[in-house]
Symmetry: C2
Subunit: 227 residues, 2 copies
DNA sequence: AAATGATCGATTGTCAACAATCTTGCCAGC
DNA sequence: GCTGGCAAGATTGTTGACAATCGATCATTT
């Protein structure tokens, strides 16, 4: 009997044009290839991707539902330009979600979880070393994604994925602006240790702290701008 | 200078076909007019609404992103059939979100908030009196929506709205199956009192309790089915 | 009889043309 | 100089036809 645990035996994924385009466009936005606030038009993108406006529209609908782009009827579409308020909201939202995720997974953590966490941590460290902001923002989100993937809460995972794009966008911008990789590295050492440790309470405190640090960092950045 | 606080001065809403259809379809699903698991086809619905498949497809895309329907490429689309697992997930997710919402709003509650809360509570009581399951599930969701609308956290509101449909669907089914309106009424008396009270701690405890009661109710229902 | 392969209807995916709407810039009139 | 309206261009919204894929049914073969 064939079991489904081997990923090579997983059911094939139908990749419709819309999905492929959505994936590519998402990458382009998150990586900063298309700057925030830029206007994008369906016809141009359709030409660029070599498809008609139909599937492209659908892809844009997806990204719009993720908040990565904003469409005004009959007028135009622009890629998200993150405001300080957006960033504060992303931080607090993420804290609430990650708190739930750790509560859910805490008593179900196993060896595979620890192994995968270490693996993703290594990737993050490597990308930090190379100073590749896009790659390391992706690695950071990927590291944090694990707890959502592993906790077995589909709705929670879905909610996380809906804000993960915006978070990654922020991380990439932030690192590019004043990319001090030391704090990121330290923060994730702590994260790893606590996530594999014995105290849920300490882990949740770290999650909250992580948010507070992020917001205070944002605030001092804003003060430096116009203060 | 004109401020934007007056709702009559808010920018007009463009209601495109897709949006109207999405709204109507959502209602039809949530109200149970279309049963869970039913297959729906784009052509049929397009004929029914008197539009072409394009806008209808877009509306279905929206509902799919809300989890109310599930589409398999080239194969078909079915409306969501809630599983016990879905319901457990909705409950825990909702608890996490509502906890954040009350933390955010607690020190900013004002007279208008209290007034609106009372108003929506009255509507809920009225619908319960009339034994209209669809209307009262809508009223219940509407009552709980206020804290999300008023807390000024756009991302949180967005996340709430994404699960509110599924929650309402569950509430309507649940009430129709064994509609005891007494407990609902009592629970919301408590909710009102605490939401307008002085202790955030007590309010959050109530939110958690509300979830626990919901899940244990679900569990005893399941036991009664196959036990 | 069981397994394999072909056929057909149903359903979603894609396309290119057309319609509706918004924004911008210009011009006349005051 | 300012206001109002009008026209042009750009952009999204909508349509109907065609293509690709799937699931079930039925014939074929071993």
């Amino acid at each position: 009997m064939l079991t489904n645990t081997d990923k090579r035996m997983a059911p094939v994924k139908r990749e419709t044009f819309s999905n492929q385009i959505a994936t590519n466009l998402r990458r382009a936005i998150i990586s900063g290839e298309i700057e925030g606030g830029t206007q994008i038009t369906e016809s141009d993108l359709a030409r660029h991707f070599g498809v008609s406006r139909g599937p492209l529209r659908e892809a844009m609908g997806q990204l719009a539902s993720e908040g990565l782009i904003v469409t005004i009827p009959y007028t135009g579409t622009r890629v998200l330009k993150l405001s300080p308020r957006d960033i504060r909201e992303i931080h607090s939202m993420r804290t609430a979600l990650e708190t739930l995720a750790f509560k859910e997974i805490w008593d179900h953590r196993d060896a595979a979880f620890a192994r995968e966490l270490e693996a993703r941590h290594k990737v993050l460290l490597a990308t930090l070393e190379m100073n590749d902001h896009v790659a390391s923002s992706e690695a950071e989100v990927n590291l944090h994604s694990l707890v959502y993937e592993a906790c077995g809460h589909r709705l929670l995972l879905e909610s996380w994925q809906r804000i993960a794009g915006r978070l990654q966008l922020y991380l990439a911008i932030h690192q590019r602006a004043h990319g001090r990789r030391g704090p990121i590295k330290d923060a994730h050492e702590r994260y790893m240790q606590l996530a594999l440790g014995d105290s849920l309470e300490l882990m949740l405190a770290e999650v909250e702290d992580h948010m507070r640090r992020g917001i205070s960092q944002l605030e001092s950045y804003l003060d430096g701008l116009d203060g």
